[in-house]
């Protein structure tokens, strides 16, 4: 049980700064997901918390302790790695017991704690096996078991599901969430998968280029993206972005034109908020390029007159106006997101 706080946290390799000052406070028992594209600094941030990377400047606090200079073992944390990082020469039992043995926990208690974790993770039949005799999902559980038995103050997850196949990933995602709720341990979870972020997180930190672009609950991030990057990264298919000038020239100028703040450069609209309409109400018009029917939803790609492609999401039952070469798209005025020239949200 612990709170974590970053204040103006920075990391440089030589002269290149890769994390440009992150500030946040993580409450006791929260599950925070750090999400972002490759190279955005999310793993580096996590490894700084773990003590595997040095802190260039700023502070990391776990509870009231500044841990910047502490060794990993002095921080009371446990980490689950992307490639699981199991000890290949040890049995599942020994893998889980390793940390406890080093901490000189009595034998009987080690056996008990490993047994409890193994039961929780359904690993009991495999305790004598070596990691190489396990499937990917089982190895993943062992890695989690190794973290759980130590009863740490903080769990760190570094893309733990990215080596699993899609079906197993969904299953493990639910299990991680359930387990974290049950244990109530403060957790930091790094992923590049925005669906994982949305489903797991109490709060999301969206990172891009070493900066935390937005910190908030999944729905807040989804509904009010702070920057165009966040809007484009969170949500699948991503938000459509168009220039405000186009909007003002459209048939909806009367209602939308006023909605657009003076400094707005870009307007963002989620695919599900767009719908097809008659020519009279059209905000945008273009040509239907392709229709992807996914069952539960149908995605229509429309190439606007200036060549820009936008995606319109329809419910699965409804079909796009196939056969019509020219289509008209509209949406409600309050579903538009406006962004300034600096790509930041304008309300």
């Amino acid at each position: 049980m612990a709170q974590i706080a970053f204040s103006n946290l920075r990391k440089s390799y030589g002269k290149t700064e890769v994390i440009h000052g992150v500030d946040t406070h993580i409450e006791d028992g929260e599950l925070i997901v750090i999400v972002g594209p490759s190279g955005c600094g999310k793993s580096t941030l996590l490894r700084m918390v773990a003590g595997l990377e040095t802190v260039t400047s700023g502070e990391i606090r776990i509870d009231d302790r500044v841990v910047n200079k502490l060794e990993p073992r002095e921080r009371d944390i446990a980490m689950v790695f992307q490639n699981y990082a199991l000890y290949p020469h040890m049995s599942v039992f020994d893998n889980m017991a390793y940390g406890l043995k080093i901490a000189k926990v009595p034998q009987a208690e080690i056996r008990e704690r490993v047994a409890v974790a193994a039961k929780m993770l359904e690993l009991e039949p495999f305790l004598e096996r070596k990691p190489r005799q396990l499937s990917g999902g089982q190895r993943q559980r062992v890695a989690m078991g190794r973290a759980i038995v130590r009863k740490p103050a903080v769990f760190l997850f570094d893309e733990p599901l990215s080596n699993l196949d899609a079906k197993l990933r969904v299953q493990m995602r639910v299990e991680i969430k359930t387990l974290q709720r049950r244990l109530g341990v403060t957790s930091l979870y790094v992923t590049h998968d925005q669906v994982e972020a949305m489903t797991l997180a109490d709060r999301i930190i969206v990172m891009n280029g070493g900066v935390a672009e937005q910190i908030g609950t999944p729905l807040a991030v989804y509904e009010k993206p702070a920057t165009t990057f966040v809007g484009g990264f969170i949500g699948s298919p991503p938000m459509n972005f168009l220039s405000v000038e186009r909007l003002q020239g459209s048939g909806l100028a009367a209602s939308f034109g006023e909605a657009a703040p003076a400094l707005a450069k870009t307007v963002g609209v989620r695919p599900e908020h767009l719908s097809f309409c008659g020519e009279g109400q059209a905000a945008w018009s273009g040509e239907l390029v392709i229709v992807e029917a996914l069952g539960a939803e149908t995605l229509a790609h429309v190439r606007l007159d200036d060549g820009e492609v936008i995606i319109v999401r329809l419910d699965g039952g409804r079909t796009a106006p196939v056969g019509e070469s020219r289509v008209h798209v509209t949406c409600e005025a309050d579903k538009l997101h406006f962004f300034g020239a600096d790509e930041k949200r304008i309300d």
Binding site: A50, G51, L52, E71, P72, R73, I77, A78, M79, F81, Q82, N83, A85, L86, Y87, P88, H89, Y98, G99, I102, A103, R146, R150
Partner: protein, 293 residues
């Protein structure tokens, strides 16, 4: 898809294998066969004819106290060389693995000694420790230690061990370093997070994961100590003083080419062949079981 390569021409696979088989035949089977054949004969002093003696040469060998002493010398020598060269190499590799800046320079420097020919390496050490002109010997003398490996058994043995091990350290270093780098970084990091200190991680994670490399090097180093140290011994001590550094392979040479006892020399080669064969079998049978692949 076919897993095995199938040749359409019957002769082609034989032709492809021929060079390797030819080399093995000329440089191994033929001399080994000759040694076995000759070990059953005693040639006359002028080498004009030989007399068949069966196992006579072997009987004589195993009742010869000098020969039996040479066994012990070899055991001490190869154990010391293997331990020293592997221990030092492992230590250097672990240290070099931790270095981030200038690691390339360190590695290159550490690999260099391997390029030095055994006889040259021997002479190098001989000059440093020569009781009359050697620099190290002179300094030892200055601090009150009377170094003279020409007369002192222990010092002679120590010197050939160090000189032989020194050359092999580079080779071992290279393999240990590669072995260390093949261990996933995250496994070590996981152990660090699990609370293990550097040395605890080394003994519980790194060393066990390095065991395939260690085992391979063990076999290679013992063979090296048995055979390839000839040049070092020949230049530094010539097997002396009083046969204190005469290992089996040196005795084969000394008895055969200096003592001109070709029958006994041939018999010794056969014994050596059997000993190394047995050692390798033992290593693979018993030591390999403890190796984690």
């Amino acid at each position: 898809m076919q897993k095995r390569v199938v040749f359409n021409n019957r002769l082609l696979p034989y032709a492809l294998l021929a060079p390797q088989i030819l080399v093995t035949a000329v440089f191994f089977f033929w001399p080994a066969g000759q040694a076995i054949y000759q070990s059953a004969f005693i040639p006359d002093p002028f080498g004009l004819k030989s007399q068949f003696v069966g196992f006579g040469n072997f009987e004589f060998l195993f009742s010869d106290p000098y020969y039996l002493a040479s066994f012990q010398t070899t055991a001490v020598f190869s154990a010391a060389v293997t331990l020293l060269s592997m221990g030092a190499a492992l230590w250097l590799a672990v240290m070099a693995d931790r270095i981030i800046k200038g690691s390339g320079a360190y590695r290159t420097l550490l690999i260099w000694p391997y390029a030095v020919a055994p006889a040259i390496a021997g002479v190098l050490w001989l000059f440093m420790f020569n009781p009359n002109v050697g620099l190290v010997a002179w300094y030892l003398n200055a601090i009150g230690y009377d170094w003279n490996h020409v007369l002192n058994d222990g010092e002679a043995m120590g010197l050939v061990v160090v000189a032989s091990a020194w050359r092999q350290i580079s080779y071992n270093f290279l393999f240990f370093l590669a072995g260390l780098q093949a261990i996933p970084r995250s496994v070590i990091e996981a152990a660090a997070i699990d609370g293990a200190s550097f040395w605890k991680r080394f003994w519980t994670i790194v060393f066990p994961l390095l065991s395939p490399t260690t085992f391979f090097l063990l076999v290679v180093n013992i063979v090296y100590a048995f055979f390839e140290t000839f040049g070092v011994i020949h230049t530094i001590t010539g097997g002396g003083p009083q046969q204190a550094t005469t290992i089996l392979v040196y005795k084969v040479y000394a008895d055969g080419f200096i003592g001109q006892d070709l029958g006994s020399s041939a018999a010794q080669s056969v014994v050596l062949l059997v000993v190394v064969g047995l050692l390798t079998v033992v290593q693979f049978r018993y030591v390999e079981r403890k190796v984690h692949y």
